[in-house]
């Protein structure tokens, strides 16, 4: 099974100076998808139904994961806002050709990811899912 941490590793490897903008844009997107996939799997394992079986509606999973941090048992305002900031950067990186995506953006994205991962480890997903 693929480990989404590898996406974050790719992002880190592209976060150094001297990379081109396509790499910085890629790094931002991979940072978001890495931590999003980790969140999706952890939530699902803990009984939050975030996965959608219909592949044509797979995009809805993003909304469900985001909603899980906005309300309910796993509500966490600070994590939710870091996710929001990541989606903001991801949108700029994937769609906005007029914008310039820089190393600064990638470093911010990785900082947001680190914050979320720390919150997962220390509070939200500290305990393993019950069998």
């Amino acid at each position: 099974m693929f480990n989404p941490d590898a996406f974050i590793d790719v992002s880190r490897s592209f976060s150094v100076s001297g990379r081109n903008e396509a790499e910085y844009r890629t790094a931002t997107g991979r940072a978001l998808y890495g931590v999003y996939l980790i969140a999706r799997e952890e939530l699902e394992a803990r009984g939050v139904k975030v996965k959608v079986s219909d592949p044509t509606r797979r995009g809805e999973e993003h909304g469900k994961v985001r909603a899980a941090f906005k309300q309910g048992k796993f509500r966490h305002d600070k994590v939710s806002q870091r996710f929001s900031a990541l989606y903001n950067l991801r949108y700029k990186s994937d769609y906005d050709l007029d914008a310039t995506v820089t190393q600064q953006d990638v470093l911010h994205a990785l900082n947001y990811v680190q914050y979320i991962q720390d919150a997962f480890a220390k509070t939200l997903f500290k305990n393993p899912p019950s069998a």
Binding site: V16, G63, K64, D77, N88, Q104, L107
Partner: protein, 253 residues
């Protein structure tokens, strides 16, 4: 639409187009002369563009047109800053300014066509109105608001946004080093199809202090909303408001 204003703008644009040709010629043949006058010419030009923007606030322009000309306004601010620095720095940098100046000529032409175009009645409130709704008219730092945000501002979301602005204003008054604030509508089309009103707060702090301030502000916003006790506002705050921080990042190899 105000025809007189547009005719005036046309006349000015026509005159400027003629002058642009002359300036372009001078740039090729007599750069040392042009270099000396570039700063003054750009001041005239930016003044003209500002006039157009100001006039357009009174015109019945549609949503996309407004978004476009506020982008131009932003570009203009950036150019103005460059002009200021160029005058006291290297002489050869004037060429970069001249280049920007000439491309701005095209930008104004596009803009002029936009405000002269058909009105589709999808107009949005002027920026001043949106700024006032959000409480930004009292904010003591520069800000940029994309008027698209008005489409998400139902009553509870507006109240939630006002809580954010109130907390932010208070923090700024108490010394939080905020450089500027951007407000925009974040729409995700392919990852859940959701929308948020996003405040991006640019602070002059390192990442550690910025994250502490970020968390602290989020706590205060939530506490303030809870004290007010309006559930629909609390829900809007959770569902529709984004509060993001950006800070100084030192590049690393």
């Amino acid at each position: 639409m105000n025809e007189v204003t547009l005719i005036d703008a046309d006349t000015i644009a026509s005159e400027r187009a003629s002058e642009d040709t002359t300036c372009g010629h001078l740039l090729e043949t007599e750069p040392h002369i042009y270099r000396n006058v570039a700063g003054i010419r750009i001041e005239e030009f930016t003044g003209y563009l500002l006039l157009l923007i100001k006039q357009s606030l009174n015109l019945d322009v549609n949503k996309q047109q407004r978004e476009d000309f506020f982008s131009y306004s932003k570009a203009l601010s950036s150019l103005r800053n460059r002009i200021s620095s160029v005058r006291v720095t290297r002489e050869q940098d004037n060429f970069k300014v001249v280049s920007s100046y000439l491309s701005l000529g095209q930008l104004v032409e596009t803009y002029r066509q936009l405000i002269g175009g058909e009105d589709d009645s999808a107009s949005v409130p002027p920026i001043e109105v949106v700024a006032k709704q959000l409480g930004f008219d009292q904010l003591q730092v520069p800000y940029n608001i994309n008027t698209q945000v008005s489409s998400i501002l139902d009553r509870p979301t507006l109240e939630a946004a006002n809580i954010v602005t109130a907390v932010l204003s208070d923090r700024i008054a108490k010394g939080l080093s905020v450089e500027h604030v951007d407000v925009k509508l974040l729409t995700d089309y392919d990852a859940g199809q959701w929308q948020e009103l996003v405040f991006t707060i640019y602070v002059d702090l390192d990442s550690q202090d910025a994250n502490k301030q970020w968390d602290s502000i989020l706590d205060e916003i939530r506490a303030k909303a809870n004290r007010q006790g309006n559930k629909t506002v609390i829900d809007s705050l959770s569902q529709k408001i984004g509060v993001h921080f950006r800070w100084k990042v030192s590049n690393h190899v």
